[in-house]
């Protein structure tokens, strides 16, 4: 019942392994041609040369730093300190007591609201764009614009829209409707709201595109059959499309969650983590401790916590909700 992934060019891993052993035999056999003349050296070094740039650079700039992060989180010392002293888990408890707990709470609140609203809006727009109505395809492009233009520039626009008193559009609109105006950079909850609305505006186009691609893979005959049987749009969605989309929903949820956990730009531009840490997420905490306060140990400890948290969330999402479809994720 579950439709295949959109790019079904890829062979299943099991077959791929067998095909490659066949290939290896071919390479060895074909290094000499029919008349016994060598047509080139056995490509033994070649595969290593080919993979070297990607593998070496990944090891140097992803895996080595991850190791350093875990190792150095156990030591005290500044960014460029030469001598380190072992402090055990002191950095972790310090990080949690010095604003880290709040940062994790802010991250959780931000990410949950961000994921729910981004995916909700994304799915709604994708469903509308998926309807077979002439001209609808031209309305797709605007939704990718927030996603691709530089977020620093659009965050500046946000700062302008939410500017205090009558300078910003939002406050002017609130005033026009006789509602109380707010100062979006000095009130903790309003600051978080400002940062959140930007995040949703900026990223939900990704969900639109991904859900639209997923909807295109659904079997039309099933939906038409339901329509013939008298199922309305809502029931067709609830009982046919939604269950069929489960695998893609899990995947989009993972992507959106990781994006939410890594929110940085608008926080830096709009609130700088304030007021009073109300918009300091775990990543912003890492940045702040690492490069502003120079408490590298705290930054490293928080880095490990955030890494483990992202890994656990991904595994839980895929494991619990993507069961039966794990092969493809």
């Amino acid at each position: 019942m579950v439709p295949g992934p959109p790019g079904t060019r890829s062979a299943p891993p099991a077959n791929a392994g067998r095909a490659q052993t066949g290939r290896a035999r071919l390479i060895r056999r074909r290094t000499t041609n029919g008349r016994g003349r060598s047509v080139g050296p056995r490509p033994l070094a070649l595969p290593y040369l080919f993979i070297a740039p990607a593998v070496v650079l990944t090891a140097t700039f992803s895996l080595l730093p991850l190791g350093m992060l875990a190792w150095r989180s156990l030591f005290a010392g500044g960014v460029f300190a030469k001598s380190l002293s072992y402090v055990g888990l002191q950095n972790y408890s310090d990080a949690l007591s010095q604003g880290g707990t709040q940062a994790l709470r802010v991250t959780a609140i931000y990410t949950v609201i961000f994921v729910v609203l981004t995916m909700g809006f994304g799915l709604a727009i994708a469903l509308l764009l998926n309807v077979n109505v002439p001209g609808v395809q031209y309305l797709r492009a605007p939704f990718i614009i927030p996603l691709v233009v530089p977020p620093v520039a659009t965050a500046l626009i946000w700062g302008n829209l939410f500017a205090p008193s009558g300078f910003g559009f939002v406050n002017r609109a609130l005033g026009a409707f006789g509602l109380p105006q707010g100062n979006f950079s000095s009130s903790p909850s309003l600051a978080l709201l400002m940062v959140l609305t930007f995040g949703i505006w900026q990223f939900f186009g990704e969900c639109v595109i991904l859900y639209l691609a997923a909807l295109k893979t659904l079997p039309l005959d099933l939906i038409e059959a339901a329509a013939v049987d008298g199922a309305g749009p809502w029931r067709r969605f609830r009982h046919i499309r939604w269950p069929l989309l489960r695998r893609q929903t899990v995947l989009i949820c993972v992507i959106t969650t990781l994006a939410g956990l890594q929110t940085f730009t608008q926080i830096f531009i709009l609130t700088n983590g304030g007021p009073n840490g109300a918009t300091t997420t775990a990543l912003f905490y890492i940045f702040n401790q690492g490069f502003v306060q120079f408490n590298t140990g705290l930054a490293d400890a928080m880095g490990v916590i955030l890494f483990v948290a992202s890994l656990v969330i991904t595994v839980v999402l895929v494991g619990f909700f993507g069961r039966g479809a794990r092969r493809d994720v």
Binding site: F61, P151, T154, L210
Partner: protein, 274 residues
């Protein structure tokens, strides 16, 4: 029946148009504020749209900061990193799909493990490594750490797993060395997938803010995003100037986005749903 269908179409159109208007509103607002005469901004009762278009604001913004230099830096960084990602992914993906060699499985896991480590989490140690290499405030410091793309290599590998090995046989029998078989026969076949990957990779690098922020900190090495954030701290209440600067930074990418729209959508889908 016909009438209700017409009504639901009208509803779909109007909902979508409303959504498009909401999505594009901030950009329109930026344009309106950028070209607004200053007296209109100070006057809180003035209309949101400029009474006349004051393009001089944009010139003033351009002259207030080294945008030209930042633009060149951004091009060097994003083009360099993207070319590196394409090259390294193409080579690694091809080798992992087509050859059998000792240690292949472990080396592949090393690459895939890279996918699991978001770069944002390891920024502190990465800067320490770059400092040890004396690569802070250099182009290589910006570009080299971004060259490896586990996603790119994975996509290319998936693509070549579906390609027959026999495709290169004619060239091999003619005595072409393996790297030539790759560059002449197989690499060109990957053009569509590379194009989709290249555009999202380019946009990602162009828009990357956090990485340049921690790697370079001198005005003549900064990239556009970073320069713009400095600009903001200098002119925090000059809304017309700020929006003009945002306009300068957004316009080139907006043009790219409109032209390459189809490829961008392909790239996003490819990157996620594999």
């Amino acid at each position: 029946m016909f009438k209700s269908r017409l009504r639901s179409r009208a509803l779909i159109y109007s909902l979508l148009v409303l959504a498009v208007l909401i999505v594009l509103f901030p950009l329109v607002y930026m344009l309106g504020t950028a070209v607004k005469p200053n007296y209109q901004i100070i006057n809180l009762r003035a209309s949101l749209w400029p009474s006349h278009w004051e393009w001089h604001n944009v010139v003033r913004a351009w002259d207030s900061a080294p945008f030209g230099r930042w633009f060149v830096n951004t091009v060097i960084f994003s083009v360099g990193a993207t070319l590196g990602q394409i090259g390294s992914s193409l080579l690694a993906g091809y080798a992992f799909a087509m050859f059998e060699f000792p240690g292949k499985r472990i080396l592949f896991y090393v690459l895939i493990a890279g996918l699991m480590v978001p770069f944002t989490i390891v920024i502190v140690p990465v800067v320490q490594i770059l400092a040890d290499l004396h690569w802070l405030n250099t182009y290589q410091g910006l570009i080299v750490p971004n060259i490896a793309s586990a996603l790119g290599a994975f996509l290319v590998r998936q693509f070549y797993l579906g390609m027959p090995y026999e495709l290169g046989e004619a060239a091999r029998i003619d005595g072409a060395p393996e790297w030539k078989v790759f560059s002449r026969v197989y690499a060109p076949l990957a053009t569509p997938i590379i194009a989709a990957f290249a555009i999202i990779s380019f946009l990602y690098n162009w828009n990357n803010f956090l990485f340049p922020l921690i790697v370079v900190n001198t005005t003549n090495m900064e990239v556009l995003s970073q320069g713009l954030s400095v600009f903001q701290t200098q002119f925090s209440t000059d809304y017309d100037l700020l929006m003009s600067a945002a306009l300068i930074v957004i316009t080139p990418i907006l043009v790219v986005a409109v032209i390459a729209q189809r490829r961008i959508v392909e790239g996003i889908t490819l990157g996620a749903l594999q």
